[in-house]
């Protein structure tokens, strides 16, 4: 097995960044190494982040040694992941060019669609070739990398039917012009990429209402546009959110061909009654079937969502669901507690009394039990609601919590980036226009449909780093914090404060030479601790800069 390394300098860096997820943003070289899905190269079970967890917590040095060799994890099928693997299996990539098999699956479908998919596949293949040929190899600093979120939503933020709990930006289809939408998405993606002067897109996420209702052609078109505007590595994570009903096997194949390499399935529940309650259009068995199919198409890269804390739900049956799911699921699970949003059908039902209000105590218990069950099954809880094993983290979402740059394309999408292309140096929070029709008009007129731009001052950014970073298991490392605030260390900020000391003593928060993070118990009550931490940060900031900074 010839291991063709593209860069020698890559190798030593692996050793110095033992935890692949702790990417050294400022030091661009390391970034190139801890590329798209760094934790793929982890061998063995996840080291426990929690000191008091059942697994032995690995020492820093241990993990470092363990990862020195750029070997693919034992027991895993060789597939194109990571830049290293690229050199190795380039021929494999070409040989397995998804372009060809796509047509096989597509013969049963109308010719137009099949042709569309072939075209999409060819585009994807072209991209890979281009990337192999002249893709940038140099390290890219944080300000030039970004994740891309595309709010696709089927026929736009359209879903077939509104789920009873959903308050996302979505509308029910009205026969919109898909081609127009596609053009608008492509245009906006190009414009935003230009505006942000991003040189590398590390991950793409197709979310929305139900992206799987969209045509794979749209997905391919967007990816193609991105690849042309900037550097989109062949192994970047391209996730698509899918609904069990709207994504039969053939469609999955088409999406694969178009360039999607990860799937997120909104299972929500394995109980048919609950699914009905939630207004979902599929049954539990449909969902499991689709899950199996998805695992075939996207081995090792399928994520499932499960909800807890539904009205009239009890801990025992729910744990049963979870265990059943564990028998079928892939390497990534997300657990979400139901939150009743005003204006949703479920909220009205509960208010009127036709449904019992969900019990927060039960929900808390379900969450705690669920976490423990998943941990026993080998999953690592890398964020409040997200669990992964065998290193199958979501790179895209990781960007959110590490406060990297992300561009939001599509109606209602959110973005955070520095519009360097327009000469600015301040990070901005952007929201695109919500209503699809207005959004399309704006895109056609101006090239992008940004409704709101809010510059984020330094303090605002630090607050985000704190609040988001603490949601992860690694928390905020000192190095990570230093990139955003080189002068005030986490020690300076928190060690002297009485309230924070209390939290540290109670064992909910941990502050050591690694950084600041929540403990296993602390993560469940993070929102109770955040106001204290935030007000301490604000206080320290005021003391540091006596004159108020506008926008800060």
């Amino acid at each position: 097995m010839k291991l063709k390394l593209k860069k020698f300098s890559d190798l030593p860096k692996l050793r110095s960044s033992p935890h692949p997820c702790r990417r050294q943003r400022k030091d661009g070289r390391a970034a190139a190494v801890s590329a798209p899905v760094p934790s793929r190269w982890r061998c063995g079970p996840e080291p426990s982040r929690w000191r008091c967890g059942p697994e032995p917590s690995r020492r820093r040095s241990d993990t470092g040694r363990g990862h020195a060799a750029p070997l693919l994890p034992p027991g895993r099928p060789t597939r194109p992941t990571g830049r290293f693997a690229l050199g190795l299996s380039r021929s494999r990539v070409l040989a397995r060019a998804p372009g060809r098999p796509a047509t096989a699956g597509g013969t049963a479908l109308p010719g137009v669609r099949a042709r569309g998919w072939v075209k999409a596949a060819k585009m994807a293949q072209r991209r890979r070739l281009a990337e192999d040929a002249g893709g940038r190899r140099g390290p890219t600093p944080g300000s030039q990398r970004a994740a891309l979120y595309v709010h696709v939503s089927g026929e736009w933020p359209y879903c077939e039917k509104r789920c009873s709990y959903c308050n996302f930006n979505k509308y029910i289809p009205r026969g919109v012009d898909e081609a127009a939408m596609r053009r608008c998405l492509v245009t906006e993606a190009q414009t935003l990429l230009q505006l942000s002067a991003v040189q590398r897109v590390e991950s793409v996420f197709f979310g929305g209402g139900t992206p799987s209702l969209a045509s794979p052609h749209t997905v391919a078109a967007v990816l193609e546009a991105v690849a042309q505007a900037t550097h989109l590595p062949a192994d970047s994570e391209v996730t698509l959110e899918a609904n069990p009903t709207s994504a039969p096997s053939s469609r999955l194949a088409a999406f694969r061909a178009a360039g999607v390499n990860r799937l997120s399935i909104g299972l929500q529940s394995l109980d048919d009654t609950e699914l009905q309650l939630l207004g979902r259009t599929h049954s539990a068995s449909d969902a499991l079937q689709m899950l199996a199919e998805a695992r075939r198409r996207f081995p090792g890269r399928v994520s499932v969502d499960l909800m807890l804390g539904l009205p009239a739900q009890h801990v025992g049956p729910w744990l049963g669901q979870l265990r059943k799911l564990l028998r079928h699921c892939d390497d990534h699970v997300s657990l979400y507690q139901l939150s009743l949003e005003r204006g949703t059908a479920l909220f009205t039902q509960v208010q009127q009394g036709s449904l019992p209000a969900p019990d927060p105590e039960l929900a808390a218990e379900m969450y705690q039990e669920g976490r423990a069950v998943l941990r026993e099954a080998g999953f690592r809880q890398y964020e409040v609601s997200n669990f992964a094993r065998n290193g199958a983290l979501s790179t895209h979402n990781w960007t959110y919590w590490q406060c990297g740059q992300y561009l939001g394309v599509g109606p209602g999408a959110h973005g955070r980036f520095i519009p360097q292309g327009a000469g600015s140096h301040t990070r901005e929070a952007r929201i695109q226009t919500l209503e699809p029709d207005n959004w399309m008009k704006e895109v056609m007129l101006f090239g992008h449909g940004t409704r709101r731009r809010v510059p984020l001052g330094e303090l605002a950014l630090l607050e985000e780093v704190l609040a988001m970073g603490l949601r992860t298991d690694v928390g905020i490392t000192h190095q990570h914090w230093q990139q955003f605030e080189p002068q005030l260390t986490l020690w300076d900020l928190f060690v002297a404060n009485k309230e924070v000391q209390e939290l540290l003593e109670q064992g909910r928060l941990l502050l050591d030479r690694r950084g600041l993070r929540c403990s296993w118990e602390g993560l469940a009550v993070l929102d109770s601790m955040l106001p204290t931490l935030l007000s301490r940060l604000q206080e320290a900031w005021q003391q540091r800069t006596p004159s108020p900074v506008p926008g800060g």
């Binding site: 939150s339 808390a364 929070a429 949601r471 009550v525 929102d527 109770s528 955040l530």
Partner: protein, 448 residues
């Protein structure tokens, strides 16, 4: 509503004038002018209109008069009578009651009870009005301390017009600086509150009305310290300890209830529950009964009238008058949060009612205290004995489930607001108590 009030005021004044005219004392037209100011209003164009009753002398347009209180000289612009509209006349004679406009600019210049006399003819000032004895006290606090000054001027203006309201400066730890106002009754209190809101646009927090208790001090040293044997306690925080007093006194009133006889039983039970002592019961006609009870004032001050009305489907009527003081077993009830006393919530109650009052406060607090990372024990205590308890459970899970792109902005906004709110929280021990928890516990519960 305001027009009606204006008309009512005019009618009131008219009636008062007629009464005063009829019952006027011996007057001497020939004597130098002596006029008593008994009411005043402010007119934007004409200045202060003082309503006067002349005891001696004559006043006419163009006279120079002096106010005994302020010693300022004014020239009379207009005099007249009220029929009930203002009807200007040339002169006002002794024995008449009318109005007088003399170019005063501020309502404070025409003090109620003031005597007016002619320039260069000073007279013995008339005895003013006997100050009314307040029956019900309520704490009045501005919602936010920034509105303190507005509220202060509003109360000053209103009390000028309504001299039966007594004003004492008060401050509460929870609600900041405010006043303890004394009213003649519950209705008076409500009318005052309404007038404040309507005429001066001042929204206030009205705390549960309390009554003035008295305590008879035991030792001579204390008597010297407080300068009298019997002290009046308005603010529960000033309640002296049991060791310092021989006995506590509470005000009692003689209440008269007139009701159709079918509700007699229920009403009697209600009165019993309020520690009342029956004094008299008689039929005033075939179907209606009149009951006379001696009530402790603190029992009827809060919601007795409402309960009475709801028991009797609105048919019963209630009136009361002051009947002195009686000995009572009063205790000071503290509220504890995880063992720490909350000073703002201390109340004085009768021993029999301590348990129910304590439980009610604990329940209200439980509903308004936000959950924290640890359990909160809310207890009501008499001295060191706990009489009621409620618990607020600790948070087992309090974290946003989904926090991706779009959620981040929302979450940060919420967090910033929470961090701001944290600064304004009062900490009792390690329990954080938001200001509106105090307000909810302290203010009058209108929706029972």
């Amino acid at each position: 509503m305001l027009i009606l009030k204006g008309l009512k005021n005019k009618l009131k004044r008219c009636l008062i004038f007629q009464v005063m005219n009829v019952l006027s004392p011996k007057v001497h037209r020939k004597n130098p002018l002596r006029a008593l100011v008994f009411d005043s209003t402010f007119d934007q164009y004409r200045g202060v209109i003082a309503n006067v009753a002349l005891f001696d002398g004559v006043v006419s347009k163009g006279d120079k008069i002096v106010s005994a209180h302020t010693q300022k000289t004014y020239e009379v612009n207009e005099v007249g009578v009220l029929n009930p509209n203002e009807q200007p006349t040339h002169k006002l004679y002794a024995g008449q009651v009318g109005y007088l406009i003399a170019g005063m600019k501020d309502v404070t210049e025409a003090q109620i009870g003031d005597t007016l006399y002619l320039h260069k003819q000073p007279v013995e000032p008339l005895p003013g009005f006997k100050s009314a004895k307040p029956m019900v006290f309520a704490g009045m606090y501005p919602i936010d301390q920034s509105e303190y000054n507005n509220l202060k001027s509003a109360i000053e203006k209103l009390t000028l017009n309504d001299s039966s309201v007594t004003v004492h400066r008060d401050s509460s730890l929870a609600l900041g600086a405010g006043w303890r106002l004394g009213f003649l009754g519950l209705l008076h209190m409500e009318v005052f509150n309404q007038r404040l809101e309507q005429e001066y646009n001042a929204s206030v927090i009205l705390t549960t009305p309390t009554v003035p208790y008295k305590a008879v001090l035991s030792s001579a040293k204390l008597i010297k310290e407080y300068r009298e044997k019997e002290i009046t306690i308005i603010n529960p925080a000033q309640f002296p300890d049991k060791s310092k007093v021989t006995e506590y006194l509470e005000p009692i009133v003689l209440g008269t209830i007139i009701t159709p006889d079918e509700y007699t039983g229920k009403i009697m039970m209600l009165c019993q529950a309020r520690r009342a002592v029956q004094k008299n019961m008689m039929y005033i006609d075939q179907n209606r009964i009149m009951l006379k009870y001696l009530f402790p004032l603190n029992e009827i001050v809060v919601d007795f009238y409402d309960s009475l009305k709801s028991l009797s489907s609105g048919y019963a009527s209630f009136d009361y008058e002051d009947a002195g003081y009686q000995t009572a077993e009063l205790v000071k009830m503290d509220i504890l949060l995880n063992g720490n006393i909350v000073e703002e919530l201390v109340t004085v109650v009768h021993k029999d009612k301590a348990y129910s009052a304590g439980k009610a406060i604990c329940e209200r607090l439980k509903d308004s205290l936000p959950r924290q990372l640890f359990e909160i024990a809310i207890q009501a205590a008499l001295g060191s004995k706990i009489i009621a308890r409620e618990t607020v459970k600790a948070y087992r899970k309090n974290v946003l489930a989904k926090c991706y792109g779009g959620d981040i902005t929302r979450k940060m906004k919420l967090l910033k607001r929470q961090a701001e709110g944290k600064k304004k929280l009062r900490k009792v021990g390690n329990v954080e108590v938001p200001k509106d928890a105090f307000i909810k516990v302290l203010k009058t519960q209108s929706d029972k």
